[in-house]
């Protein structure tokens, strides 16, 4: 059953283009998407998903929104709290804190791939799930930094809370996502119809192109991963499963609809490789980016995108009965 879903997911052209990117690195091809095309694609995805979510939010009955938004916020705070001590078994404080933040935060592209998967399977989901995505992007950063400060008993340096809150609320990707969500909400389905060819019809194609680039990036990182040792690799395989399991429990307790549940679990399972590294570079410069980005990007991302999404869905179907 789960295998069927994995196959269905693999028949998603976007996922296949991701695999093509991996293959290109494997065979040492010189295929590459020149900068800044990937950055532009990533901005497009945020704009489109935000806008679509906003329009949906307006149309939807929003009653189902509050519990899932609350759960999202909770998870983004709680995940780093239990991930940090686990990682401390082997990692230095700044590295453990940065990885904890990475797994508390989320990956928009994993979310987007999951929502494309739902669409192909004709399973609906609420527009507020995009708000959940936005909500989970940054609190984990603050938690991670605070954890590091406490563990290092480092109060001297003057913890720049203001800068951290600012970075959390106004970093480019969060702002674009939230701004597009608001714009979609304001203009609604009728006002937004002119944007549909851009935000919806083009979406699967541009997502495929972006995932092709992700495949190239992940492929290159995979090669360099061995140098990090076994612990980070194993952690990057187990943490998403652990977080997904917890998310699954919460989704079950809240009796979320299947589509919402899958997206929520995927958010919990995913790890950030855009917002968190940029913030950590400022707030925890002692942490090793090759470690936390490598884990999120080279292992957790493909795990979720290729196997995780269909696997989580079959778990949900089994539980929801």
């Amino acid at each position: 059953m789960s295998l069927d879903l994995i196959l269905a997911n693999l028949l998603n052209p976007a996922v296949l283009f991701f695999v093509l990117g991996l293959v290109a690195v494997l065979v040492h091809s010189d295929l590459e998407l020149p900068a800044p095309i990937p950055k532009a694609l990533s901005l497009y995805l945020l704009l489109a998903i935000g806008f679509k979510g906003g329009v949906a939010l307006r149309e939807n009955n929003g009653d189902a929104a509050l519990p899932v938004l609350g759960a999202a916020l909770l998870m983004s705070v709680v995940v780093p709290l239990y991930v940090f001590p686990l990682l401390r078994l082997r990692l230095r404080v700044p590295d453990a804190a940065a990885v904890a933040a990475t797994y508390g935060s989320v990956s928009a592209v994993t979310f987007v791939t999951a929502s494309a998967f739902l669409q192909r399977a004709n399973i609906s989901y609420g527009g507020y799930m995009v708000a959940a995505l936005a909500l989970m992007e940054t609190p984990a950063i603050a938690v991670g930094v605070v954890l590091a400060r406490i563990a290092q008993r480092d109060h001297a340096e003057g913890f720049d809370l203001k800068a951290l809150v600012h970075e959390s609320l106004f970093n480019g990707s969060v702002l674009l996502l939230v701004g597009s969500l608001l714009i979609g909400y304001i203009v609604g389905s009728e006002g937004g119809s002119a944007l549909k060819p851009f935000t919806e019809a083009l979406f699967p194609g541009l997502l495929s192109l972006f995932l092709l680039d992700m495949g190239l990036v992940v492929g290159r990182r995979l090669r360099e991963l061995r140098q990090l040792g076994a612990f980070p690799i194993v952690s990057a395989l187990l943490l998403p499963l652990l977080n997904a399991a917890l998310g699954l429990g919460i989704a079950y307790a809240l009796r979320l609809a299947v589509g919402d549940a899958l997206l929520f679990v995927v958010l919990c399972a995913s790890a950030s490789y855009i917002a968190v590294p940029a913030a950590m570079r400022q707030a925890l410069p002692q942490a090793n980016p090759a470690l936390y980005v490598g884990m999120a990007l080279a292992i957790t991302f493909p795990l979720n995108v290729i196997l995780g999404i269909p696997f989580y869905l079959s778990a949900i179907r089994a539980l929801w009965g």
Partner: protein, 97 residues
């Protein structure tokens, strides 16, 4: 033409604005930045292929009077220690205009 110190700094793309501000605080009046250069150093390869900006460098070229140099070098050194990168100083002639 008059002699001047030519200072070039390569560091994290996310850091380059801060370096520029620092230079201005030390009296530098002009600089040029090349965004998005790539490279390799003690901290490994930076291929510029990720979206976070963390694996991307920027290059900054500026000039200063010889007597400004020690203070500038001291300030830059601190950033390089934290975020990585290099700073090279050489002699040049400034074409007055």
């Amino acid at each position: 033409m008059r002699p001047i110190k030519r200072v070039e700094i390569i560091t994290d793309a996310l850091e380059i604005e801060r370096v520029a501000q620092l230079l201005e605080q030390h009296g530098v009046t002009g600089y040029t930045i090349i965004r998005d250069v790539i490279g390799k150093g003690e901290r490994g390869i930076r291929r510029g292929d990720e979206l976070s900006g963390v694996f991307k460098n920027s290059y900054l070229l500026t000039t200063c009077e010889p007597e400004q140099l020690p203070a500038i070098v001291e300030a830059v050194r601190l950033i390089l220690q934290q975020r990585g990168g290099v700073c090279l100083v050489s002699d040049a002639m400034w074409v007055k205009h």
